[in-house]
Symmetry: C2
Subunit: 254 residues, 2 copies
DNA sequence: CATAATCCCTCACGTAACGTGAAAGTCAAC
DNA sequence: GTTGACTTTCACGTTACGTGAGGGATTATG
């Protein structure tokens, strides 16, 4: 409810109370050049007119839309600025954020259910710490091989009991011992079958393609490669090739 | 894919690459006491074991859920901490955030439509700047009188043309002139009717109750009161009472 | 009209979660 | 022994203000 134009001269606190923000906020907007009222040359007091209030309304509006102050500054002080374009771009951002939140909510719900329900025995181990199917590996893996949970085994491996960890290491060592053989040879394929069975028994059921994808990850992702190669130089590469052969043969079987 | 327990000793960058975060992040976690690996007494190098990696997995998991590092610190280092409770509380937070985002999205969409479609003549003025129905007054008003758009008129007033602004001021001045009369008197009720008609003509249609609520806001909200009283001391109080009488009579009419 | 209560101003540090150099020591390789 | 890659510890920058600190100006009251 502004008065007649030109008749309004408000001090910081008046404005602050009028629109429900803090004095500091107005100071801040002045500092960053977003809303710079006149200043009384004598006292140095900020002097807000009705035009300032109009601008402030715009600012607050864009703020409710989640724009940053810098963006708002451009939008407001730049008449050439394409407001519609800015809005559409911002819309995308909001949708992304919301999707992210929904994803987070799903995961939280899952976790709550797991904690509350005690989960089935089969999954108990998986949820022992928490559900690490949503782990840092996942994002990258998804990007490369879609949504197949190709890395779940690895993720779970990080949380599994010592017994199975030792089993895994045993297989790695076995494979490392034969890593100089031809990946397509019987001895190599027998070794890799152990690996395949192990993963299928304790984790997700892998389709041959997923298994092949997992192998590809061993060499393409240096994080995995580095770790696997600790059992022997070139082991990751060897396993990757052997897994590919194994998967292809499995596929042609059917 | 951790190795046998106790056999893993990784340096910062190894860990960083392994889980896909930055070295600085690990430094930061160390700084705030979230993840504090051993340090080689000679070199001062950070020395991450597999237990550290397990903790790191937990940290990253909670991070994907949007927990703050401080919260994560408590959750992880405090075995007494009720994780389930924390999850549920966090769930609420996420839902609130999502609702907020949805609200923002709606408003952005509305605004985009308004900008694109050119809007109908009736709404053109409303959207002239932008839709100020979402203005800082609104939140508080809603709290007091629910969702009735009791303050929309005021909000729009801030954006309306000078002509109507002047009309409004004229009415204020008229009312100020008679503000010492009895609010229930004919002259007061006639004056307040002008106000009522003015609002109904140019803004939302007010039910008597909403009109009464609006009047209450004039005195309960010092931001409004202050502005109204610029036309005359006690005007807000006078209008509030007159509006209440007007509304009550209107109600009993029906 | 003096004094107290407000209100105004300008620094300037604190917040969350790191990013981004800078200066300097360490390690493996050549 | 020197390069290159890595490590360390400062320490300032980021966003949108919050929160005093210290010191004039305005307004209210005795």
């Amino acid at each position: 409810m502004l008065l007649v134009k030109g008749l309004v001269r408000l001090k910081v606190q008046d404005v602050a109370q009028l629109v429900g923000i803090s004095v500091r906020t107005l100071h801040h907007y002045d500092e960053i050049g977003l809303l710079t009222p006149e200043k009384d040359p004598d006292t140095g007091y900020r002097d807000y007119h009705d035009e300032d209030l109009t601008v402030l309304q715009h600012i607050l509006f864009f703020k409710t839309l989640g724009f940053s102050l810098q963006d708002i500054k451009e939008i407001i002080h730049n008449p050439d600025y394409d407001q519609l374009e800015a809005l559409k771009l911002h819309r995308k951002m909001l949708i992304d954020k919301r999707d992210q939140l929904n994803q987070m909510l799903e995961t939280v719900d899952e976790t709550i259910r797991a904690q509350e329900g005690g989960v089935s025995m089969a999954n108990e181990e998986k949820f022992k710490g928490f559900d690490f199917s949503h782990n840092p590996y996942e994002a990258e893996a998804r990007e490369r091989w879609g949504d197949a949970k190709v890395d779940e085994a690895q993720a779970n491996a990080m949380q599994m009991g010592e017994d199975k960890q030792e089993q895994m290491n045993e297989i790695y060592r076995e494979l490392a011992a034969i890593r100089l053989e031809d990946p397509a040879s019987k001895i190599a394929q027998d070794g890799i079958k152990e690996w395949y069975d192990f993963l299928n028994n304790y984790f997700t059921t892998y389709t041959p393609d997923m298994f092949k994808g997992l192998g590809m990850m061993y060499v393409q992702d240096e994080r995995f490669q580095k770790n696997i190669d600790q059992f022997g130089d070139g082991l990751a590469q060897f396993m990757s090739e052997a897994m590919a052969v194994f998967a292809d043969r499995k596929n042609s079987e059917a």
